[in-house]
Amino acid sequence: MHPEKQKHTFEPKIIAFVCTWCTYAGADLAGTSRMQYPPNVRVLKFPCTGRIDPVFILKAFQQGADGVLVSGCHPGDCHYIAGNFHARRRFAVFRKLLEFVGVDLNRLQFSWVSAAEGGKWVEVVTDLTEKVRAMGPMTEFRELALEEQWSGAINTPELEEAYNQI
């Protein structure tokens, strides 16, 4: 294996779901402060983390994302009073579900980044990018998409007979 070469050849796709009031503004601040971070992240803006449906995360992985970031306002700072509190519960549970079906949670990061935390945005995005880069591509969902049917072996006489009749 050539890990170094691999590191150069694999550029992970990171999707960030962020709220417009805190994290999007924090990312803007990183820009106006001319901070530098890896170009792998694509930002999707939502009014609030409360709007972010867990299905979007699933969809992102299925569409080939290697890592997903969800980021919003710190607790108590939500522009919409409590959207981030609802999101916090929703994602606390959803990540447990993904973990249980075998998704490596190192690919899924949650963070609170305020409009003043340009530095934190850079740190969160850089860390996730490097972590996922080291893990390699997210192949699980992509491989699923290539598979046609049940991989189960035809291991009983009944099944074999049924199969032969098809």
Binding site: I15, A30, G31, R42, P47, G50, H79, H86, R90
Partner: protein, 665 residues
């Protein structure tokens, strides 16, 4: 098929230095649906905007993507330009290739590839954008003010002076609130009633203010600009129109020994009474619980002596419905009372101070009444137990406040200052007396506040002891105060004649019930929550409802008056237009699919989700579905993420738009 126009901005060199803008324009131009793609030096400049408008018309563009800076910067600019060119503004999106791309990357190839992808995502998104009409809501230019203390009075006068009608509702028989009870006010020691009563009279005489005293809010319906408020006007038993306020009824009433709440139960009043001589309105009310006529059916003296025939024993509560466009909540505070078992209160009680059973342990408001020239002692500081002048007086601060182990942790804010004032008033009235103050910290931010506090020590000879008191007990006619002086590190015991407790400022009883009627949020202490602690401190998250005074948190008079005027200014801003316009980023329910589980209603922080009945032509109920009131919706979209069947959608952030972006990756 959409005809999308894409405009790539150089932003001088800010973008073009690290992003090959021409290549972006070229590559994006090949995307399906893109009819026109170009780059320009400064899109936000007048020529840039004109380029945009011209292209919309000449190319017959259906949607627009401007790839430039952050939408937080110029989204409004470009949406206006698009609107000017005849397109719905919400058919324009911005792709952020400056803050999120050119400024944070150095490698031109990488940055260019990223920029193409960012613009590509926005192209896919904008295809799914829908025409969103601006939402307008009519505004009823009348305001309701709840609470007739200094906060409510100030707000009502300001709004009325601007020419708008005000409905002022007060629970007690008179307006005035707590400020009317105070003796002098810090830091100037001017008499509270001298500055308060003229304002009360102004309210009574103002042609634009309709005053409902002895009244409470029964029901609030509607939303910003269009509230319907039901007010319960409690039976006063005296006709306000007929009563001249001569006071004969009060003189003749045979029941005279009812503790007067206004005087903290130190003074007495008759069963037909006004709470205090300067009451507004100066119309008595019959306390039906204590009136002989109501208890036994006999007496009726007040009716006999009343010249104008205003006394009406048959009067009943009346419900009045008032349409208003805005509501100012100014319900104020109450002091935590250690004599009452704190039912439902978060404060665990002060058994170590005898649960208020020691008669000469009083609270700050009682001291105000003792010190007030119009109070029950005529301004003399006398002990409630035996009427003697206390020569040693101990003030204890932070009773309930900042006491996490007692249940609440906040600072009541006014106690440090009023205790300093009390030591001064005491020293002015009892020259040979000595005042001690037990305190944790002295908190005196405010104009001329710290100077005032220092004066109480340096000139008025109050002895400040840093430490708390563990126990009070009666020993003979003295009260033994056991405390600690943590500055010196010793236990101290003072045999005091009187003890004054600076008890915590709490919201009025029933603040939570009123909040539920109004649909506004409140914190765990029942203080009302502002929409934003820093930037929207006088607005509730519920549109059209504003906060003034101590109902939002402990406040002194200057802060209360400032906030009241600020709330009034917010109301006037709302009333400046006939119709209310708001961004159409609101949730909408697809009623056909809604099964009425109301998960959306449960998560809505704005109370914007209502239950709507769907009936057939015969009027039979088919189902109950959710309905989002666009006037109230805050636009967060939490409802949509919660809805299992996605039958509520946030305009501007629909699933289609978001999925389109994810699929564009």
């Amino acid at each position: 098929m959409s005809r999308i126009g894409v405009f790539i901005c150089h932003c001088g060199e800010n973008i073009s230095r690290t992003v090959d803008v021409e290549r972006v324009a070229r590559e994006v131009g090949l995307l399906p649906g893109v009819a026109f793609s170009t780059d320009y030096k400064y899109m936000c400049s007048d020529p840039g905007q004109n380029l945009l408008k011209k292209a919309i018309q000449e190319q017959k563009l259906s949607h627009v993507v401007v790839a430039a800076c952050s939408p937080r910067m110029h989204e409004r600019t470009f949406r206006k330009a698009v609107e000017a060119a005849g397109l719905n503004p919400f058919l324009c999106e911005m792709a952020n290739i400056r803050e999120h791309c050119s400024w944070v990357h150095e490698n031109k190839e990488e940055a260019t590839v990223k920029a193409v992808e960012i613009v590509g995502m926005m192209v896919e998104r904008v295809k799914k954008n829908r025409v969103l009409p601006t939402i307008t809501v009519p505004v009823t230019k009348r305001s309701l003010v709840i609470g007739g203390g200094i906060a409510g009075i100030q707000a009502a006068l300001d709004i009325a002076d601007a020419g708008h009608e005000v409905i002022l509702v007060e629970r007690e028989p008179s307006i005035g609130g707590h400020m009317a009870q105070l003796s002098e006010t810090f830091p100037t020691l001017d008499c509270s009633q001298c500055i308060m009563t003229p304002k009360m009279v102004d309210v009574a005489n103002h042609p634009k203010i309709r005053l409902y005293t002895y009244s409470e809010i029964e029901l609030v319906e509607g939303y910003i600009g269009n509230f319907q408020v039901t007010i319960r006007k409690k039976a006063r038993s005296v006709d306000e129109d007929k009563c001249t306020g001569c006071g004969v009824c009060m003189e003749k009433c045979p029941i005279r020994k009812i503790p007067n709440k206004f005087d903290c139960n130190l003074g007495m009043r008759p069963a037909i009474y006004v709470p205090f001589p300067q009451a507004v309105p100066n119309t008595p009310v019959i306390d039906r619980e204590n009136c002989t006529k109501f208890k036994t059916g006999k007496c009726g003296l007040c009716q006999k002596v009343c010249g104008p025939g205003a006394v009406d024993y048959e009067q009943e509560d009346r419900l009045i419905v008032e349409p208003v466009g805005a509501i100012v909540v100014a319900t104020g505070f109450d002091l935590y009372n250690i004599t009452e078992k704190p039912k439902g209160s978060m404060i665990k009680g002060y058994g170590e101070f005898g649960h208020g059973k020691i008669p000469d342990v009083i609270d700050g408001m009682t001291f105000e009444r003792l010190a007030s020239a119009s109070g029950p002692t005529g301004g003399k500081i006398l002990r409630p137990s035996d009427g003697k002048e206390p020569k040693q007086i101990v003030f204890i601060q932070c009773i309930g406040s900042r006491a996490r182990e007692k249940g609440i942790s906040y600072c009541s804010k006014v106690c440090c200052m009023y205790t300093a004032k009390h030591t001064m008033l005491y020293h002015h009235k009892v020259h040979d007396g000595q005042a001690y103050v037990f305190f944790m910290d002295a908190r005196t931010p405010g104009k001329a506040y710290d100077e005032f506090w220092r004066r109480s020590i340096e000139e008025e000879e109050a002895v400040y002891i840093r430490g708390m008191v563990s126990r009070l007990y009666q020993k003979g006619d003295k009260i033994v105060v056991m405390g600690s002086d943590i500055a010196v590190g010793v236990q101290v015991e003072i045999e005091a004649d009187m003890v004054v407790l600076a008890t915590a400022v709490q919201p009025q009883a029933g603040a939570d019930a009123l909040a539920q009627k109004l649909g506004i949020s409140y914190d765990k202490y029942n203080f009302y929550s502002e929409a934003h602690a820093k930037l929207r401190p006088v607005e509730c998250a519920t549109a059209g409802i504003y906060l003034a005074g101590a109902c939002q948190g402990p406040k002194d008079i200057p802060d209360t008056v400032s906030q009241a005027s600020a709330a009034a200014a917010k109301v006037m801003t709302l009333f400046a237009k006939d119709k209310l316009e708001r961004e159409p980023i609101v949730a909408r329910v697809r009623e056909a699919g809604c099964v009425g589980c109301f998960a959306c209603k449960k998560v809505c922080a704005y109370g914007a989700v209502e239950e709507k009945e769907i009936r057939d032509r015969q009027g039979n109920l088919i189902k109950v579905v959710a309905y989002v009131n666009p006037g109230v919706c805050g636009g967060c979209g939490t409802c949509q993420a919660t809805c299992p069947s996605k039958c509520v959608e946030l305009d501007g952030y629909t699933d289609e738009q978001i999925v389109a972006m994810i699929e564009a990756l």
